[in-house]
Amino acid sequence: MRELWRKPFWPLVVLLLLNLVLAPGFFAVRLQDGRLYGSLVDILHNGAPVALMALGMTLVIATRGIDLSVGAIVAICGAVTCAWIAASPDPTSPGAAIGGIGVALGLAVALGAWNGFLVSVLGIQPIIATLVLMTAGRGLAQLVTDGQIITVNNPLFSAIAGGELLAVPLTVIVAAAVYALVALATRRTALGTLVEAVGINPAASRLAGVRARTLIWTVYVFSALCAGVAGLMISSNVNAADANNAGLWLELDAILAVVIGGTSLAGGRFSITGTLFGALTIQTLTTTILSLGIPPEVSLVFKAVVVIVVCLLQSPKARALLGRRRRRRGAAGGAPPADPPPGPPTPDPDRADGAATPIPAQRSTP
């Protein structure tokens, strides 16, 4: 049972149960004008951008990286699309929207490639390599919009966030499709194992013939692309580009989603499903707070509490302290270094074969 608390879905379950008790209308879903409405739909719709960014972030973190620039990329992509649409001869035409989206996503790929270049070719620490774009990127977005909020009125562009397919919001469908695609790619191909190998031991992976550099480069491009799509969703949702605030601090939400989902920031093993649960948890929290009538600004305090609780429950050290399985080793003042991971030392497997290492030779007695 205790293992259950380590699974990434329980915070979400707890939140939903809370709503079941506190907000009776929470689970109501209704169909209106060919589109589903309700708190649950809102969670999926509003959570889609962060869920996408978190998906890209998961792969980046699995390779021992981190991508701080996704929030800035959200702003840049929104800005570029809206600026393109606004500047085109017919701002309401589908062509303008397609052009803008194409340019924005192309730019996202280029920015991801830039991050990947700094990390995989120049060998710069990911946190700082992407800090460059995090800092400069928002400035670039403001440069594009000239510091103004650009509003557009383009039906095709609005449809990204406002449209629906079979009554389900397009944002949800897009996000779900990308998740399904990535889940499939990591399960059915060797992508998952190779990404993990690179994250666990880059040098060994390279010598084993893994294209570590290409893989790392790819995950940064993918992360930026996810952020780009998220940026389109966010700016389409309000039909405007706000270079100052679009995507602000969303990189932190994305990282949070990954961590809540159970993927370690130290890289290596990752979980796509966990990240999905993490992203939904964050959005459910926000929606719950809104539906409970608590001022939205205070949601930050709850977010902090959730982060702390989830991380504490996932931390082996904290669980060891809380649980009763305190082994006598910890009692010693100079506790042994935490690396390799705590726990009683595994008996050396060599010990088992110590007496009977099979050397193909006959034994003779003295």
């Binding site: 190779l194 040098a203 050396d348 060599d350």
Partner: protein, 529 residues
């Protein structure tokens, strides 16, 4: 025999551990072990991996609590709560990996945490003065103000010894300090150890190298499977007996390892590897090397002689500046390891932890990793993965035989076998092994050597590197001797013998050179095992 007076068996030992038992859950890591250490002696602690050497040291220094038994230091019973307490009582430990801070200066590393202070602040002049004193005591000529990472591992190792002995140190524990040092550096280390012994320090020395045991130690204690096998005066302990005490196995089985000299490979057979003029600036001068199918070619030389550097160039782990490498007659682009792998070359690095083991993946994932990497993203079907894992676990006797075990939970020897399996699974034509037996126990060592011999018999070409000349000479059909980053000679057939190789390493030519031989004699003294 020795330069220092030998404490008689009747003299009271400085440190006496009696009936020490340590258990981890149901596993008894130490079972009633006795251990004595006298002032002014070098005492070797020997045993295979898992024998309990590290556990004994950690029980002594308080890292692990002792379940039973007592520790008496200087006549008083002690029980330490941690290394810091042990150190305060005069027991200092130097570990295999240099445990210092590379970003700080030599002086700071010597004195961190015990800097002389004046009016509450660190007295910089006092720090430098004390550091100079310590360095002078070790006869170590380094600038105390220089950053630690500007020095070789050997100097760093000596600095950590300096750190250990500068406080009132009665017992100095050296846990495999020599595993990454070359012969000259070992000599330097031994010089320091001898000096400390003369000062009356009791030194506990753990090593895998038999020659070093005989070179430096006065007394030897052997552990096996957590129990004491015996304590011996080293000079009176024949090598074979020491080995048999360690492995608990009859000696004949070890002697079976002697490789039956293979048929000299015919010159007519097309070489699997032909390298000509391969070089890299600052690493190795141009080298020519030919390996034929079924041949084991040894690379011999000291650390830094270019043996590892050459192996890395052959595999493309580092890029060569000049030269051409052909595998099976096809010229390799040799830009990355992938080029080499696709041509059928396999390579295990000397640095198993950093460049081989993918610890958080399973044994199965590790075994198929190179195969998988060669295929790209197209996944190897699970069935095929399972078959490969099961096959290699059986062939190489990997313990535990569990494909789902995480590799980091295996012992060094078994990790090395998994890495070999990773490459053998790709069906290579040429296998480059850089120190495949370093730091692993005798049993696994023997298995790996036997495997190499078998592979060669089946027609694989092998390039074999080991710091232990005995091992190279035993396995290799030909030996390329490297010295100061350039090849000095290639020996074949009858010429492949330890003395010849040693002369070449020492002098660069075949003529004996009294001075250098003196230094190398003990280092590679012939082992009869």
């Amino acid at each position: 025999m020795t330069a220092v007076p030998q404490p008689g068996p009747d003299a009271a030992p400085l440190l006496e551990m009696t009936g020490i038992s340590v258990a981890f859950g149901p596993v008894r890591a130490l079972d009633g072990v006795d251990f004595r250490l006298h002032a002014g002696e070098v005492h070797a602690l020997m045993g295979e991996n898992g024998a309990g050497k590290s556990t004994l040291i950690k029980a002594l220094t308080g890292v692990y609590p002792v379940d039973a038994g007592r520790v008496v230091l200087d006549g008083a019973e002690v029980a330490f709560a941690g290394p810091a307490q042990a150190q305060a009582a005069g027991i200092s430990t130097v570990y295999q990996e240099v445990n210092l801070c590379p970003n700080l200066s030599v002086a700071e590393n010597l004195l961190l945490g015990r800097e002389p202070r004046r009016w509450g602040r660190i007295d910089g002049r006092g720090v430098r003065r004390r550091a100079r004193e310590v360095l002078a005591r070790l006869h170590l000529d380094v600038d105390p103000a220089s950053p630690l990472d500007s020095h070789s591992i050997a100097v760093q190792q000596l600095v950590s010894i300096g750190r250990a002995v500068q406080v009132d140190c009665k017992v100095l524990i050296l846990d495999e300090p020599t595993s990454s040092l070359d012969a000259d550096e070992v000599a330097e280390l031994f010089r320091v150890i001898s000096r400390l012994r003369a000062d009356g320090v009791a030194i506990l020395f753990v090593t895998h190298f038999l020659d070093q045991v005989y070179a430096i130690s006065d007394r030897t204690t052997v552990l096996r499977n957590g129990r004491l096998v015996g304590e011996y005066r080293t000079a009176e302990l024949p090598r074979l007996q020491l080995v048999s005490a360690m492995v608990g196995r009859e000696l004949e089985t070890l002697e079976q390892l002697e490789r039956v000299p293979a048929e000299p490979a015919s010159q007519a057979v097309a070489p699997v590897l032909a390298a000509s003029g391969v070089s890299r600036r600052g690493a190795i001068e141009p080298v020519d090397l030919v390996v034929r199918p079924g041949e084991v070619v040894g690379l011999a030389g000291l650390l830094g002689s270019g043996r590892t550097e050459l192996a890395r160039l052959l595999f493309g782990a580092d890029r060569a500046d000049t030269g051409e490498i052909t595998v099976d007659g096809t010229v390799l682009p040799m830009r990355t390891p992938r080029d080499a792998i696709s041509a059928g070359v396999a390579f295990t690095s000397e640095n198993r932890g950093a460049e081989g083991v993918v610890g958080d993946l399973t044994v199965r994932d590790n075994i198929v990793l190179a195969m998988q990497a060669a295929r790209g993203l197209r996944r190897i079907p699970r069935r095929a993965q399972d078959e490969a894992a099961a096959r290699w676990i059986e062939v190489l006797d990997i313990r535990p035989p569990d494909p789902d075990a995480l590799l980091r939970n295996l012992s060094g020897g078994n990790q090395q076998k998994v890495l070999l399996a990773r490459w053998l699974a790709t069906g290579p034509r040429l296998l480059i092994l850089d120190e495949p037996t370093r730091g692993i126990d005798v049993g696994a060592k023997a298995q790996i050597q036997a495997l190499v011999a078998d592979l060669a018999r089946e027609g694989m070409g092998v390039v074999y590197i080991s710091a232990e000349l005995e091992e190279v000479v035993r396995l290799a059909d030909r030996v390329l001797v490297l010295r100061d980053r350039r090849p000095v000679a290639e020996l074949a057939g009858e010429d492949v013998e330890v003395d010849r190789v040693m002369e070449l390493i020492a002098t660069g030519h075949g003529e004996p050179d009294a001075e250098r031989r003196g230094g190398a004699d003990w280092e590679y003294g012939r082992s009869d095992a």
